[in-house]
Point group: C2
Chain length 260, copies 2
């Protein structure tokens, strides 16, 4: 059984963002893809879960990165299962460059829900203790509880369309991340690099739903904290992010990011 799964990517020109690097939403999409491929390989993927009318739902993603892979660069995402309990499965990742040097890590938390009731299902029926790799190290802090600050910027509004919807009939994780990224102007990303990003998914969204996206500074952690919520105030997801100046690598205070 493959307990440590690798996928090597090469970032084509067409896949780059404006900074000629892999975009955060693309990286998270690839993290999800690699997780899905590994799950398929060890027979806990889409098809097997479907037999129990269950499906995997992503609850949290966090990553920390020294530098983003650039244009035409090869990089490898390695994944393994760190552990699981009745409700959650923790899957970790290492991102390494072509020389094998680790340039980033990621942590994800997954749940399996019942297709019809949308309630969590017991993971102990699915997972096999043999897949767990406790010997591999994911050298980054675990994601913490994120609170949205009282003070925030003016909300931007968005209505989810058909192309935002995935095979589970809800809005993709990727689109959530893109809406959050779009809270800051392009100049911020030109001048600063997002070195750590955490997202907690709270509620699914449907096609046609209208949402508000807002950002503020979390004073305790000095993180840029953003949220997507429905018109009735239901939180869809909450994120926090830390940036450094590209020029000198020093951290950028969250408040400064919102002044751009």
């Amino acid at each position: 059984m493959i307990t440590e799964y690798k996928h090597t990517y090469c970032l084509t020109a067409a896949q780059c963002n404006a900074q000629r690097e892999v975009a955060p939403a693309t990286l998270i999409q690839q993290i999800i893809d690699v997780a899905t491929e590994h799950a398929d390989t060890i027979n806990i993927g889409f098809q097997r879960m479907g037999k129990n009318s269950a499906l995997w739902v992503l609850s949290r993603v966090a990553y920390e990165i020294k530098r983003y892979p650039g244009i035409l660069e090869e990089y490898t995402i390695t994944t393994w299962i760190e552990g699981y309990n009745k409700l959650f499965s923790n899957r970790d990742f290492a991102i390494s460059d072509a020389s094998g040097e680790v340039i980033g890590y990621a942590r994800t938390v997954w749940m399996a829900i019942d297709k019809d009731t949308r309630r969590p299902t017991d993971l102990t029926h699915v997972a096999d203790p043999e897949v767990v790799r406790t010997d591999l190290v994911c050298d980054m802090e675990r994601p913490g509880k994120i609170r949205f600050p009282k003070e925030h910027n003016e909300a931007s509004c968005y209505r989810f369309g058909a192309s935002d919807i995935d095979f589970n009939r809800h809005v993709t994780s990727r689109r959530y991340v893109e809406l959050i990224i779009d809270q800051l102007p392009l100049e911020v990303y030109d001048q600063c690099r997002m070195t750590r990003f955490e997202i907690a998914y709270s509620h699914e969204s449907l096609c046609g739903e209208r949402v508000r996206v807002m950002s503020g500074c979390d004073l305790a952690t000095d993180a840029l904290t953003s949220t997507i919520e429905s018109e009735d105030g239901t939180q869809k997801c909450i994120t926090r992010a830390w940036f450094v100046k590209r020029e000198d690598g020093f951290s950028v205070p969250a408040a400064k990011l919102l002044e751009y």
Copy 2:
């Protein structure tokens, strides 16, 4: 020299759209990616063009498809250069399933522009007559001139964000397609399959730009015709699309699509 380049994809669960198929925007992205990979392989890619401060710009894409690859399905996109002249390069594609059966074709038209002046550059300096494959058949009609009808639906508005921008600092081809797709509700895609799609790119868009997206019926071709234009009325792109009912394969009149 590789004059016929192939890339095999496997559609993971996470990459599917709501109909559990490859989304039109993803297919177009992959068509662009395969073109880019082939261009890199034969040394007319990003790096080589950059030396002449030129870059490839996509002018048109059209595809025709019998069925879209589904979840966990393997499919191959094959590309070759059909021909080129001073201004334009025609690159064709065949999409085939795992059994080798061709399920679709695509045609693209590319220009090379100067990075600084944004004016077209002479392709005869770049392209090599030996790469041209006149023996391969792209069995679909060439894209035609698209006119936007006088009568159309109410425009939806959108502001391009940082995550819509590519390495050329303009809005991605993919995002244009997604905005067009989002003109119709999810139910249309559940009940109908888009069998032919054409897009002509007219103007680049920048981060922060606001656009209007509108659709109407072209009476001459019975195509659903959509456009994205800036607030001052500059056309960014124009598309047309034909749909069939999934149930029985009969064509769906464009006017009916807009009634959903």
